[in-house]
């Protein structure tokens, strides 16, 4: 079957990428998928790192780590497999970026102590996404790893993530910010009276938005940050190129629930419009109870009252399995993407390295055939 060949090909090429970005809404198992892909790649002898936003204890436990922080932690895998894990802390990464790229320590301190910076570094639209990109830039340039797997913040909007590298630089470079720093400057450069009125109105609107005391903070923030704008823009351009490189692939993670699938179709549309390479879909928590064909043998084993319940239960789960198949079919139709893996619904979450390896076997089959069989039977 052509479709199956495509899937196999897409899966194989996945592990040979340099950068994998897992995207999807919250609660679909994105972090688990990112971690298990990284495990699979490491077991394929690729030096790998997984970067997550989820400081959940569960992932830390699953990876067999005692701590998970912004510092890379080696995951205890056997057979010389090398995998590091790190969790991203937006505020800390932002601070690190300021320290590293500010022209002097004084400027860095001035920015870090600014009240507005302290608020913005946490709350600025897309700052988590932006910092993910900064971290990515740093790691990609180190070349310590052959493969980076990035779990993205639980955002339903690809736009947020992907606009992030350019947004901050864009904002800081704009005339609106210059205007806040020194309003008179802009009024002077405008050559039509309409323009002047528009700018004055804009200024007034902005003052209303921010309140006057904040304006002062902003002014301090901007004059500090200004020195770093060129660097931001360069790195933003480099990350944008990295994300579109042939060695990069985006993986959409979803459950087969209609709500989740609708969101992921929208997400794919945004990714495609922005020109990012999407490799395919990993469906998580899929039910796969097939139609019962040779029932007679099995049915006969059970006493009548229990048998009736067993059959009714099976019929229900088979219906849900059909629904899952249908929803995933619709997803394929809407996006044209290959289904890289359909990970069955497990009654227990993967909370050990062994379980994570079994999970990984669904995404990279052949990695561990025995594990696949074991999980298959458990469902």
């Amino acid at each position: 079957m052509a479709k199956r060949d495509d899937t196999a090909k897409a899966r194989t090429s996945l592990l040979h990428k340099r950068l994998l970005v897992c995207v999807g809404t919250g609660g679909v198992g994105k972090t688990t998928v990112a971690a298990s892909v990284a495990v699979a790649a490491a077991l394929h002898q690729r030096r790998s790192a997984v970067i997550t936003f989820d400081p959940a204890r569960r992932l830390k436990d699953a990876l067999g780590l005692t701590r998970l922080s912004t510092e890379p932690q080696p995951v205890p895998l056997d057979g010389g497999a090398r995998l590091d894990a790190m969790a991203l802390d937006t505020k800390r990464t932002f601070d690190e970026v300021v320290r590293r790229f500010a022209p002097s320590r004084e400027v860095a301190e001035r920015i870090l102590l600014n009240r507005l910076y302290q608020q913005l570094s946490d709350e600025l639209g897309g700052s988590a996404e932006y910092m993910a990109m900064e971290k990515l830039h740093e790691l990609a340039h180190h070349r310590r790893y052959q493969l980076l797997v990035v779990d993205t913040p639980p955002s339903a909007h690809a736009r947020d993530l992907l606009a992030a590298p350019t947004r901050l630089g864009e904002l800081l470079a704009t005339r609106a910010v210059a205007l806040l720093k020194s309003p008179a400057a802009l009024l002077g450069t405008s050559n039509s009276s309409i323009g002047r009125v528009a700018l004055r109105t804009l200024l007034k609107a902005l003052e209303r938005w921010t309140g006057l005391t904040l304006l002062e903070d902003l002014s301090g923030f901007v004059s500090g940050f200004e020195t770093m704008i060129a660097g931001f823009q360069t790195r933003a351009a480099e990350v944008a190129a990295l994300l579109r490189a042939p060695s990069t692939a985006f993986v959409l993670v979803t459950t087969p629930e209609p709500d989740a699938v609708a969101t992921v179709i929208e997400l794919h549309r945004e990714l495609r419009e922005t020109g990012f390479p999407v490799a395919g879909v990993v469906a998580n928590r899929v039910l796969a109870f097939p139609r019962l064909e040779t029932l007679a043998v099995e049915e006969g084993q059970w006493p009548v009252p229990l048998r009736r319940k067993l059959l009714a239960n099976y019929a229900d789960l088979h219906t849900l399995s059909r629904r899952d198949r249908r929803t995933l079919g619709e997803l394929h139709e809407a996006t044209g993407l290959p289904l890289l893996a359909a990970v069955p619904m497990l009654t227990e979450a993967p909370i050990s390295l062994a379980a994570l390896r079994r999970f990984a076997a669904f995404i990279a089959p052949g990695l561990d055939e025995a594990a696949t069989a074991a999980v298959g039977a458990a469902v």
């Binding site: 809404t25 609106a176 323009g195 109105t201 921010t210 459950t255 969101t263 099976y314 469902v379």
Partner: protein, 302 residues
């Protein structure tokens, strides 16, 4: 008489839209004129009512149910066009990259505009204002964004002392803080991370944001199909490898998980969740939506 405002909040994919739709149906059956506000862009809401995709102006979805979609970019345009009064100025402003970069990045701008739009439906003001709805249901957004949304009026009210924005912020603050009018329903599923997030959100909503939170909705709960004796019999007979036994074990484990998570919610929040059963059909039918509506409305719309 102003309308009631109900936020339906939860992690992506837990069934917020379904719950919002069911609540709207239930309210409509009780004679309330209801508006559902869609904050996602996935078209699920219209799909559930078999209607065409929603737009920026309310449109009819069913008897006494209307739907509308809020789109941040359009809200920014509309708001500043109104604020500046002169269309030419507004066009210039909206076309400037500075302005767009600023509104995209500044915290709270889109949140404020979404709430400001809601205010127009919940409590229309002005000479010719006419109340068109008894209930406004907001479908989503996902928990993190929703919390940011609900926190905005307080932040703005303290930051901006006067002017139209400060005034609106204070009106919003009064609306959100009024337990007789504004309520939040948290939707969740029996799954570890979803429950954790629900408990965290609940604490923030009650403590930090100070808004009235209803009993949570626990969606997709597997029915209790096998008794303890059945389960014992299943193990005793030992035909473990067949599909029927595998399916039964799956069901038993899923039910046990659901009960465990319902217990967690009950203990942590001191209230029983409203349970919606897992539905075993390929697509949600109108009667199923009505059944969900009955379950929800008895407790949440009373």
């Amino acid at each position: 008489m102003a309308a009631q405002l109900l936020f339906v909040i939860g992690k992506g994919g837990v069934g917020k839209t379904t719950v919002a739709a069911a609540l709207a149906r239930g309210a409509a059956l009780r004679g309330q004129r209801t508006l559902i506000v869609e904050t996602a862009n996935d078209g699920r809401l219209a799909q559930l009512f078999g209607a065409r995709p929603l737009g920026a102006e309310p449109q009819r979805l069913a008897s006494r149910v209307a739907g509308v979609r809020v789109e941040p970019r359009k809200l920014v345009e509309a708001y500043f066009t109104r604020l500046l009064r002169v269309p030419l100025l507004a066009r210039r402003l909206l076309a400037s990259t500075s302005f767009n970069a600023l509104t995209a990045a500044a915290p709270g701008v889109t949140e404020f505009l979404i709430l400001e739009r809601l205010l127009g439906w919940v409590a229309p003001s002005g000479l010719l204002a006419r109340q068109s709805y008894d209930l406004v249901i907001v479908d989503g957004p996902a928990t993190g964004h929703a919390l940011a949304l609900l926190r905005t009026p307080r932040n703005l009210a303290s930051m901006v002392p006067g002017g139209p924005i400060g005034t609106t912020a204070r009106r919003l603050l009064a609306l959100l803080g009024d337990a007789q009018r504004t309520r939040v329903v948290l939707v969740t599923i029996p799954e570890e991370l979803a429950i954790n997030e629900t408990l965290e959100a609940h604490a923030l909503l009650v403590g930090d944001i100070a808004v009235r939170v209803e009993r949570p909705v626990l969606n997709r709960v597997y029915p209790r199909r096998f008794s303890r004796r059945d389960a014992e019999e299943l193990t005793a007979l030992g035909h473990d490898d067949g599909l029927l036994a595998t399916a039964a074990r799956f069901q038993i484990a899923a039910r046990r998980e659901a009960e465990r998570h319902a217990g967690r919610l009950r203990r942590a929040l001191g209230t029983t969740p409203v349970v919606l059963p897992q539905i075993f059909t390929v697509a949600l039918s109108a009667p199923q939506l009505d059944a969900a509506a009955r379950r929800l409305c008895g407790t949440l719309l009373a």
